[in-house]
C-alpha cells in the first residue's frame, strides 16, 4: 500500500538528533553565562575605567573594553541574564495566555472560536516590536515594558499552535470514545488534548524564545529596552555603531552573543519538532 514507501523514507530519514544536541549545547552556554554572572564577572560590568577605554582583546580584558572603559566580557555575561529574563517572562506570558485560549477555541468552536481567532488576528497585526514601541512611548523604556510587550506580541503564535493541535486531537476517534463514555470537557482537555499537543507547544516555546531574544535585542538597540547602565546585548551593539571604522570588534561580540542565543533556541526547536512530530502523525 502507499504507506509503505513513505514508512521506509521516514525510517531512513530519521536524522541523528544533531540539531537537538547542538541547540541544547548553545542554549546551555547562554544559561551558564547568565548563571556565572550572578557569582562572578571579571569586572563590575557597569563600572567605567576611563583610563582603559577602547582596548582590544587582552589577558586583562578578554573581549576588550568599550568607550567608557567597561569590560565587554563582563557585559556579555551580564547581558545573558537580561536576555534570558526577558525571554522567560515573555514566553511565560504568551504560553499561559495563548495556550488555554487556543485550546478553548479548538474545543468549543462556534462563537468562542470566532471571537478568539479574530482577537488573535488583531494581535497579529501588532508585532512584538510595535507593541514595545507603543509601550515605550506611553510608559517609558524599561525591562518590564519590553517583557510585557514581547509577551503580548507572542500570544497569537501560541493560540494558533494550541488551536490547530486541539482541533487535530478533537477530531480523533479516541476523543469520540471519551465523549461516548461521558467524560467531561475538562477531563478530555487534561487527559487527551494536553498530552498530545504538549510537544507542539514545547516547540513553540523554543521558537518564541528565539524571537523574544531577537526582539529584546532590537528594543535595546533602539533604546526602548533595558535602560543604561545595566548592560544588554542590543544596546552594546548600538553603542558600538560609532566605532565601526576603528573598533569593529565592539559590534562583533554582542552580535555573536545574540546569534548564538537565537541559533540555540531555533535549533532546539527544530530538534524537538523532529522528535515530537512522528508521534503526532501516529496519533492522527
Amino acid at each position: 500500500m502507499t504507506t509503505q514507501p513513505a514508512a521506509v523514507v521516514r525510517s531512513t530519514r530519521r536524522r541523528p538528533p544533531a540539531t537537538l544536541l547542538v541547540g541544547a549545547a548553545l542554549v546551555l552556554l547562554v544559561v551558564l553565562a547568565a548563571l556565572v554572572s550572578f557569582i562572578w564577572t571579571p569586572y563590575n560590568p557597569e563600572q567605567a575605567f576611563p583610563a582603559d577605554r577602547l582596548q582590544g582583546s587582552s589577558a586583562a580584558h578578554l573581549m576588550g573594553t568599550d568607550r567608557y572603559g567597561r569590560d565587554v566580557f563582563s557585559g556579555i555575561l551580564y547581558g545573558a541574564r537580561i536576555t534570558l529574563l526577558v525571554g522567560l517572562v515573555a514566553v511565560g506570558i504568551a504560553l499561559l495566555v495563548g495556550t488555554p485560549l487556543g485550546i478553548l477555541a479548538g474545543m468549543r468552536g462556534g462563537a468562542v472560536e470566532e471571537v478568539s481567532m479574530r482577537a488573535a488576528d488583531i494581535l497579529l497585526a501588532f508585532p512584538a516590536l510595535l507593541v514595545a514601541i507603543m509601550f515605550g512611548a506611553v510608559f517609558g523604556a524599561s525591562t518590564t515594558t519590553a517583557m510585557l510587550a514581547i509577551g503580548i506580541g507572542s500570544i497569537p503564535g501560541f493560540a494558533r499552535v494550541a488551536r490547530s493541535g486541539t482541533l487535530q486531537v478533537m477530531s480523533t476517534e479516541y476523543v469520540l470514545a471519551a465523549k461516548a463514555s461521558s467524560q467531561s470537557a475538562f477531563r478530555i482537555a487534561r487527559r487527551h488534548v494536553l498530552p498530545n499537543i504538549a510537544g507542539m507547544v514545547v516547540v513553540q516555546c523554543s521558537v518564541s524564545f528565539a524571537i523574544a531574544v531577537l526582539a529584546e535585542a532590537a528594543l535595546s538597540f533602539l533604546g526602548l529596552g533595558t535602560p543604561p547602565p545595566v548592560p544588554s546585548w542590543g544596546r552594546m551593539l548600538q553603542e558600538s555603531q560609532q566605532f565601526l571604522g576603528t573598533y569593529p570588534m565592539l559590534a562583533v561580540w554582542p552580535g555573536l552573543a545574540i546569534a548564538v542565543a537565537v541559533l540555540g533556541f531555533n535549533l532546539l526547536g527544530d530538534g524537538l519538532r523532529d522528535k515530537f512530530d512522528p508521534k503526532l502523525n501516529g496519533g492522527r
Binding site: L124, A125, M134, V138, A218, F221, P248, G255, I258
Partner: protein
Amino acid sequence: MAIRLLVNLARFAVTYVAATVLVFLFMRAIPGDPAQIALGVNATPELLAQTRAEFGTDRPLIVQYFDWALGLPMGDFGTSYVTRQDISPLVLDRVQVSLILVVLAMIVALLIAVPFGTLAAVKHRSPGGILVSGASQLGVAVPNFLAGILLVVVFAVGLGWFPANGWTAPAEDFGDFLSRVALPVLALASVQGAILTRYVRSAVMEVMSEDYLRTARAKGLGKMEALLKHGLRNASIPVLTVTSVQLAALIIGAVVIERVFVIPGLGSMLLDAVGNRDLLTVQSVVMVLVAITLIINLVVDVLYTVLDPRIRKAS
C-alpha cells in the same frame, strides 16, 4: 469568489476598526495633559484652556476618537501637539521611503529564497543542500540590524563601495538612490531570505512526497521536470502564507534598519515621535503600519483564490 472577497473585506474592516480603538485607548492611557506637556509647568490656566481647545483635547474621548479615526482613511491625521505641524504630509512622504525599502527587500529575499530553498529540498542529502540549510539556519539567527552593521563594516567602512548611511529619493538622483538603498535592502533581504529559504525548503520537501508527483514521474517526467510542472505551484501556496506574515515582520524590521542607516522613513518618524513623546504622531504612524499589514493580508487572500481552484470552488 466574490462572496469570499466580501467576507474578507468585512473581516478587514472589523479588524481595522478594532485596531483603531485599541491604539486610541492605549495611547490615552498615559497620565498627563498634552496641553500641559506642550506648554510646560508655568503656563497660565487661560493659555492651557486655549491650547486644549486648539488640540481638541477638551472634548469627550469618544468625540476625539471619531474625529481621529474618521480622519485616518481620508489621510487626515491631525496636528502634532509637539511640533504643532500637520502630521499627514510628513506621513505620506515617509511611507513612500519605507515601502520602497520593504518591497525591494522582499523581492530580493524571494529571489534568494526560491532557488536556494528549492535546491536545498531537492538535494537535501547532498553537501550542497546541507550547506544551504545550514547557511539559512545561521541567517535566521542574525538580527537584521546586526546584518546591517556587518554590511557597513565590510562594504562601507572596509571596501568603501557604498555610503554608510543617508537617503536620496529615486526621482532626485537615481544612481545615488541605488548606492544608498543597496546596503539597507541587503540587510533586510539577507535575513528575510534566510527565513524564507527555510519555508520554501520545507514546502518543496512536502510537495516532493505527494502522490501526484509520483504520478507525474510515472508518466515519464523527470524528477526536476515533475517538480517544476506540478510541484512549484502547489508549494507556492504555503510559501505565500509565510510571505504575507514575513512582509508584516519586514515592515517592522525596516523601523530598526532605518535607524541603522539613518533613513527618513516611517520608522525613524515613529522613533523620533516616541523620543519627543509626540503621542498623536505615534498613534497615527502605528495605525498606518497596522493598516499596511492588514491590507497585505487582504491582498494575499485574493491571491489564494487565484492560485487554488479548491478555494475558488468553495464559495
